[in-house]
Symmetry: C2
C-alpha cells in the first residue's frame, strides 16, 4: 500500500454499503474476487437485498456464504456453486446471463444496472491505481462505472502478478478506436488499473486464499475426445494454408477443457507457433508452456488447481514472459478473436442433431452455471469446435438429442462436433446433412438407432428443418 490511503476493516466497509446496493466485484475463474467484505456482508445481521455483478465466476465467499445469507436478490452473470445454482433455479435470485465480452459495456453504457460500489481484489494499491490479483475480467469497466470503490489488498498473492497484467481501456463508443493488439503475447496497456482517487472509500487488508479449482483426472472418454480432436486438428493444419505459420487456440474451462489442453502436447504442430488466445489459463496450459510447445498465452484470468496456482506463483516472473492477463473486453473481443483466426474448443450440456448447442440449462429449464465466454469464441472463431462426451451417467443419458430446448449457440455457429465416438465436420452442410453426420459420427451407440429413427421419420416432412416437437420432448422423459 503506497501513499496516504483510507485504511479500513471488512466489517466497517460492509456496514457502509447500502442494503439494496448494486455491487460490482472483481473475480473470474473463481479467483481474484473480493473475499473479506463479502464475508462480512454475509455475516452481518442486516436485511440485505444486493444486486451483485461479477464478470465471471467467483469463489465461495460470494457464491456460497453471501448467497446462503440471503443477501443477494439479483445476480449477473455467471455463478459456480451448487448453492447459487439452487437459489437461481428456485428464482430466489433473479439471475441474468450475459456474454463475458460485453458485461463491462452493458454495466457502463447499457443501463443493465445502476452501479453503486465496486469491490476489487489487488496485490498493490496507490494513489489512483491498483494492481489486480489473479484475475482481470471486467474490473477496469466496473471501477469506472461505480460511484465508490473498495479495494481488498490480498497478501496471499505475489506482487509479481503485476508482470502478467496488460490493462488496456477501450474508449467509450461511438469514438472507440480499434484495439491495437496485433500479437496475443503483446502489451498495449499498463500493469495497473487506474481509478479516480476520490472514489476510493477504503482499503481492506486480507490474506484469504482463492477458491481454487479441482479437476478430475482425465477419463477414458476425455482421452478419446482428445485423440479425435488431435486427429481433426492435424488434418486441418495439413489442409488449410491459414494455419501454415501458426495456430491460435482457445479451450473452455472445466475438467474436459483442462484435459484437452494437456493432451494437446501429443499433437505434432510441426514448425508452427502455437498460441493461446482464450479466456482462462488452466493447469493443462501450464503443462503446454513448460513443455515449450506454446509461444504465448493471452487470457483474462486463471482457473488453476491449488497445485497449479502454487506452480504459477513460485515461478511468476518466468511465466509472465509468456502469459498475459487482459480485461475481458479485450481477451474475449469479437474483433480480436476474428483477427487471430482462433480455433475455439468449448464444451456444453448437449447439442442437437441440427447443430444447436445448449450450454446452460438442463432439459432447457435448470440453470447450471451460465454461458460465460463460450459464445464469444463460438461466434467469432475461424473454427468453432464443440467437444463433449456423447453420453452421461455411464451411457444412460444421451448428450446428442433430437431437439434442444435451450439454445445458447445457434445452428449458424458451430463448425465441428467432437465426442469420444468421432468427429462430425458439418461445415457447408444443410441442417439434415448435419443431422446425418452428427448421428453417424458423434452419437453414443446406445442412442444412435433412436436418433436415426427420429430423423428418418421427420424427413418425410417437406420442411427445411423437419421436426416433431412432441416426440423430441419425450426424449427427455424416457
Amino acid at each position: 500500500m503506497q501513499g496516504d490511503l483510507p485504511s479500513t476493516d471488512a466489517e466497517t466497509a460492509a456496514a457502509r454499503i447500502a442494503s439494496d446496493a448494486t455491487v460490482l466485484t472483481s473475480g473470474f475463474g473463481s479467483v481474484g474476487y473480493p473475499k473479506a467484505i463479502p464475508l462480512a456482508l454475509a455475516n452481518s445481521d442486516r436485511d440485505l437485498r444486493l444486486t451483485l455483478v461479477s464478470s465471471g465466476n467467483v469463489g465461495d465467499e460470494i457464491d456460497v456464504d453471501l448467497v446462503e445469507s440471503g443477501a443477494i436478490s439479483r445476480r449477473f452473470s455467471y455463478q459456480s456453486s451448487s448453492v447459487a445454482r439452487r437459489a437461481t433455479n428456485r428464482r430466489d435470485i433473479a439471475f441474468s446471463d450475459r456474454n463475458a465480452s460485453s458485461i463491462g459495456d452493458e454495466v457502463q453504457y447499457g443501463g443493465m444496472v445502476d452501479p453503486d460500489v465496486a469491490i476489487v481484489e489487488a496485490v498493490a494499491v496507490g494513489e489512483g491505481w491498483f494492481v489486480p490479483s489473479t484475475s482481470v475480467g471486467q474490473v477496469p469497466a466496473f471501477v469506472e462505472a461505480a460511484d465508490e470503490l473498495f479495494i481488498e489488498l490480498n497478501h496471499q498473492h505475489p506482487l509479481g502478478l503485476q508482470s502478467v497484467h496488460d490493462i488496456y481501456r477501450p474508449d467509450s463508443p461511438p469514438n472507440r478506436t480499434p484495439i491495437p493488439l496485433t500479437d496475443p503475447g503483446g502489451r498495449i496497456g499498463t500493469s495497473y488499473v487506474q481509478f479516480a482517487p476520490e472514489k476510493l472509500v477504503g482499503v481492506v487488508e486480507t490474506d484469504r486464499a482463492d477458491s481454487t479449482y479441482t479437476f478430475r483426472d482425465p477419463t477414458d472418454d476425455d482421452l478419446a475426445i482428445a485423440a479425435n480432436l488431435r486427429s481433426f486438428l492435424s488434418d486441418e493444419m495439413e489442409r488449410s494454408p491459414v494455419f501454415d505459420d501458426a495456430i491460435h487456440l482457445q479451450f473452455g474451462v472445466g475438467s474436459l477443457g483442462n484435459a484437452l489442453m494437456g493432451e494437446l502436447r501429443a499433437l505434432d504442430f510441426g514448425d508452427r507457433d502455437v498460441v493461446y488466445y482464450g479466456e482462462l489459463i488452466q493447469d493443462g496450459l501450464l503443462d503446454m508452456l513448460d513443455s515449450g510447445r506454446l509461444a504465448s498465452a493471452s487470457a483474462t484470468s486463471m482457473a488453476l488447481t491449488a497445485d497449479g496456482q502454487r506452480r504459477l506463483f513460485e515461478d511468476i516472473e518466468r511465466y509472465a514472459e509468456d502469459i498475459v492477463l487482459r480485461p475481458a473486453d479485450v481477451a474475449n473481443h469479437p474483433g480480436l478473436i476474428d483477427q487471430f483466426g482462433v480455433v475455439g474448443v468449448n464444451s456444453a450440456i448437449e447439442f442437437d442433431i441440427y447443430g444447436n448447442v445448449n450450454s446452460t440449462h438442463i432439459r432447457g429449464k435448470r440453470m447450471v452455471n451460465g454461458i460465460g465466454g463460450s459464445a464469444d469464441y463460438n461466434r467469432n472463431a475461424l473454427l468453432s469446435i464443440c467437444a463433449l462426451p456423447s453420453a452421461l451417467d455411464d451411457g444412460e443419458t444421451s448428450r446428442v438429442v433430437p431437439m434442444t430446448f435451450h439454445v445458447d449457440h445457434t445452428e449458424h455457429d458451430i463448425d465441428v462436433f467432437v465426442t469420444e465416438q468421432g468427429v462430425a465436420d458439418v461445415r457447408g452442410c444443410s441442417p439434415v446433412e448435419r443431422a446425418e453426420r452428427i448421428i453417424e459420427h458423434c452419437a453414443h451407440p446406445s442412442f444412435k438407432s433412436d436418433l436415426q429413427s427420429y430423423l428418418d421419420d421427420v424427413k418425410a416432412q417437406s420442411n427445411h428443418i423437419p421436426h416433431d416437437v412432441a416426440r423430441a420432448a419425450e426424449w427427455y422423459e424416457s
Copy 2:
C-alpha cells in the same frame, strides 16, 4: 472496359462452367448480382448440379430462373424468392444459412466450400481491377478465393457508383490487423476490387436491370411501432451520456425496417450527429439523407425500390458524399459494430416470452429467407432492439409465443422488444421478469391472457426458465 480484356458472351461463359462447379456470385439486397451468365446457365440444356454462394440476397435470374431450371443443388447463404424458398423446404436444394459478416472468411479460409469460379457484376473493369455495381457484399473475398473469374459489365448502372465504394481488404488471419475505420463515413480503401489478372476468363456485357425491391406503404401497425420506437429512443438519448454527441443506427431490411427508418425523421435528435452503420441502404434512408438529418451512411449494399434506385442514380455524386458501400466483412464486422456503439433495430418472425428470437423458420421448420446480417448486429450492438407487429393475419396469429422452436438470436442478445402495443425493455431482467414485461407490453390483446396463463402455470416449477414444452408446442396448433 479498359485494356485488352477477354470479351465473351453469356452463353460461351456459361458453357465453360463445369456442371458441378462451385460458383461464388456478387449480389446483396437483390442488387449488384450477375444476371446474364446465370440466365444462360438456366437456359442451357445441360444437367447442372451447381453449388451457389452469394453473400446476401440476389435477384430473379438466380433465385427464380436458375432455381426453376433445377441447376442448383447447394446454396449459401440467403435466398429471397418464393421459388427458392419452396425448393429449400422441399430440400431439393441443400441450403446452409450463415451470418453475413463471416461468409467471406468461411469461403476463403474455413473450408465451407471448394470454390471454382466467381461471377461478379461491375460498372467498370480494367487490367486487374473492377468497380462493383450496386452492391459489394463478400465480393473481394470471393474473387480472391475463386480459381476463375467472370465479370458482367452492366451498362444499366452509372459509373458514378465508383464514388460510393470503399473496398478495404482485411489481411489473412492470424496476421490480420485491426480494421482502421474510426468514422462510418470515412474511407480506408479503394473504389475498385483488385484481382489477379490471370484469373479473368471473360467479360460479358449486359444491360439487364436489378430486381429492385417493392415496399408496401406503412401500415397502422408499422406507424405505431415507429412511434413506440421513437419514444424509447428519445428517453434513451436523454438517459445515457453515450449518446450525447452522436447516435449510430442500423435497421433490418424490409417494409417495416424501411418504414421505421423513414418515420425516424419525426424524432428530435437535438444537436446529435445521426449516423447509419448498417448493412443496407433503403429508401427510408434516402429520405433521412434528403431531409438533412443524417450525417453519413455506411452499408454493404442497397435495397431500394425502382424509384429509390432512380433517385440515387440520378444524383449519385451528391449521395456519394454521404453514402459509403463497404465489403460485408467491414460493414457487418463485430468489432466495428461494437466500436460505434450501434443501436440495431431488426425484425423477426416471432420471439418468445423469455426473449429468444426466431428470424428464419416458421414454426421452427419452414425456412423463410435466412438470417442475413441480423445476428451480426443483434450480438454486437450496444443496444439491440427487436421490432415487429405483435400478431399476423389480422390478429389471428401471435408473434409472441411461449417458446420458439428455432432460435437465431438467443436470450443473451436482445435488449428491447417493440411491437405496436408497446416497449419491453428487458435489460437486466431475469428470464421470468423478461416474460412478465414482454407479455405486459408487447403481446397482442387477443393472446395476452393465454400467454399470462402459460407463464402463471409454469412458474410453479422450481426452474430458472420454467417451461412446458408440450403445451408450448400446442400453441402452434390452435
